[in-house]
Symmetry: C2
């Protein structure tokens, strides 16, 4: 039997560790012959654009430490199974041509939608190809998993970078406000990680704003003014997708208004919006920092725990889907214990995972509550544990593995 | 004899390594009793706000790996020596009160101006306090030194981050342009470092724009269009301070117009300006990334070479200024050999260093020339060599040393 694997959606630092796990499990499984990679996700199947991965065994360590998708990615939303048979038929033909028994798709919410639809189509048409989802998203917003591969490293980037920004921002004894804009369209998991210095007892970042909060301009300015009475430097950790009481994204006017192929609003500029607001209403020195794609691609700050678990979930997805003859499931993590931290790989029906977003629980939104802070630290700290050295070539540049061509 | 040390200007990752070197040399010098730190640069002297550093011997390693100024910083420009005696008199009184024999000031161009003026005043009034400059700036624009402490680590951040941004930006087979905005008001040293992946033979970043270039909108757009014919992804590494043929900062309209206390234009938004230009003139997918203060405070990407040399120049400044009875000098580096890389600590009259900026040499501005690329790599590669592990507390947070209070 041959297997195929693809990557889809937005990049993370851990998605290639899962790919390395899939390849490793395929290579060690006597039932598996060829391991194909689809280039640019499902587009690689639609365009018959595949690569053979069996020969990459000696590069799995470098692969696991390469940021973003070594196979390339796509943002394809498959049509409803009922409305368009042609595209599914085309996928089926290509997979049958390459004698594929198992199809693995590593991605976030939208990729699980692809897994769900494809497996529904195959079930309906009695096609014996197993379709398996392997989670990935820095956003940590997938259901039925304790956390997502990629979140730990992004959280580590945010934790460390906030500590550095605190050092950088406090050197002048001048009243100033620093706004740090963090990814997170609907859920505040990443911004919680940026709050870790505060939860550990540092004053900063003094203000933490999640999409789960209701943002109020007046309350925000009042709080900034109060804090400036006590502190020279006020640091604000803010999700890109904060909303007002009407559910409108705050600072809508500063945004582009564009939407992606899934209909999500393309956001930018919450930091600039808050910078303008502070400048206008308070008039003190203010700077905004957009952490931008560095929070999802900084493999030099990957967490050991994250890469290790991402590799394991890729491995187990292959091993168990074959031994237990699974299809239409998404693998994930279950936390067995906090202290010592222990995790096991589990799976759920993908239909229970796709298209549902996991928000920060309501009680954790009270980020000034000491008990909540402890719970958040207990949740995140093991996920960011361990530094992963960068593998470098002789000239000092990072040694990355990429399968697609630009 | 007591000595005093201060830090001034903008932050870098290496400035505390130089401070650690000063403390280490002071502790080991039998002629030195107390080592004072001025909090927030010369303001600490003016406000009699000092800290005793002798007890920090067991924390020098943590100190050397702490980003930004552990003593705090200031942006004070002293008046001309002829015009205002009062402030100099006040500085002298405080230094004499603490029995200071040597005054060390770690900073960039503007801090060397302070060293220059203070030593002129002391010379004029026969005050036997030695005044010594220790260089620091990520900008690498100080004269009379092969490079500046702090540049190597910032260059390493740029090299690694560009490699990661390349991975992140190429995953979709969609025509797109990514603009990376890099610090550098007048000189392009940092942007050269961001060009290293290209100089090593990767296509990206295909376009490199320094302040030393004359920026032309039309030529830029034409080049982008040509490249998009060949490549899906075009990456532009761009200095914040690029200028048009009239010497005006490009995209002046998108900037704040504010100036700092030294009269430098406060820049922001060149990335946004080029993003807008591309969007208007080409209409493809475009993203701008401002690397912001992360390029100067990311101690998790410090270079071993940079921290080691920064420590050494701090050490030698103390040891040699005392043994050779020096004053009114700035210490720096002389490159003895490229292969193997060898550097020695030297000094020059500070009047030859202050207020002169070192530009990228004209011949190096031809960044598409293969010979030039080799020379740039030979210059920068040793400076970014070696990874420095982050020292962490038990809870995983970086273990930093800070002497001032917020």
């Amino acid at each position: 039997m041959n297997i195929i694997v693809g990557q889809s959606g937005g990049p993370s630092v851990a998605i290639n560790a899962s790919l390395a796990g899939v390849i490793q499990a395929g290579l060690s499984n006597p039932k598996v012959d060829k391991i194909y990679g689809m280039l640019h996700g499902i587009d690689g199947v639609l365009n018959d654009n595949l690569v053979l991965l069996n020969d990459s065994a000696d590069r799995l360590d470098e692969l696991a430490r390469t940021p973003a998708m070594a196979l390339g990615s796509c943002r394809v939303k498959l049509p409803a199974v009922e409305t368009d048979d042609a595209i599914y038929h085309q996928i089926r033909e290509t997979l049958e041509k390459y004698d594929i028994g198992c199809f693995y798709y590593i991605g976030g919410n939208d990729s699980m939608d692809t897994v769900d639809k494809l497996s529904s189509y195959f079930a309906k048409h009695h096609v014996p190809i197993q379709v398996i989802g392997i989670p990935k998203t820095i956003d940590n917003d997938l259901c039925n998993t304790d956390h997502t591969p990629g979140y730990g490293s992004a959280a580590k980037y945010l934790n460390d970078t906030m500590e550095e920004i605190i050092c950088d921002s406090c050197i002048y004894p001048v009243k100033n406000i620093v706004i740090v804009e963090i990814m997170g369209r609907d859920s505040g998991w990443l911004t919680l990680a940026a709050g870790m210095p505060h939860f550990r007892g540092k004053r900063m970042p003094q203000i933490i704003i999640l999409p789960e909060h209701v943002f109020d301009e007046e309350a925000f300015i009042t709080r900034c003014k109060e804090l400036l009475e006590i502190d020279s430097t006020v640091i604000v950790a803010c999700s890109e997708g904060i909303r007002d009481k009407n559910g409108e994204y705050a600072g809508q006017a500063t945004k582009s208004g564009a939407v992606d192929t899934f209909g999500h609003a393309y956001l930018s500029g919450v930091g600039k919006y808050l910078e303008g607001l502070v400048s206008r209403e308070i008039g003190c020195k203010v700077r905004s920092i957009e952490l931008n794609i560095m929070q999802r691609c900084s493999s030099h700050l990957a967490s050991t725990c994250d890469l290790k678990e991402a590799f394991e979930v890729g491995m187990e997805a292959v091993t168990r889907s074959i031994s237990e003859n699974l299809t239409s499931v998404m693998f994930g993590y279950e936390r067995v214990s906090d202290q010592p931290y222990e995790m096991k790989v589990i799976y759920h029906a993908v239909s229970d995972c796709a298209n549902y977003a996991k928000m920060v629980p309501q009680e954790w939104c009270d980020t000034d509550n000491k008990e909540v802070q402890k719970e958040i630290l207990t949740y995140i700290e093991p996920l960011i544990a361990g530094d992963v050295p960068v593998l470098r070539k002789a000239d000092g540049s990072p040694d990355y593995v990429v399968f697609y061509r630009n």
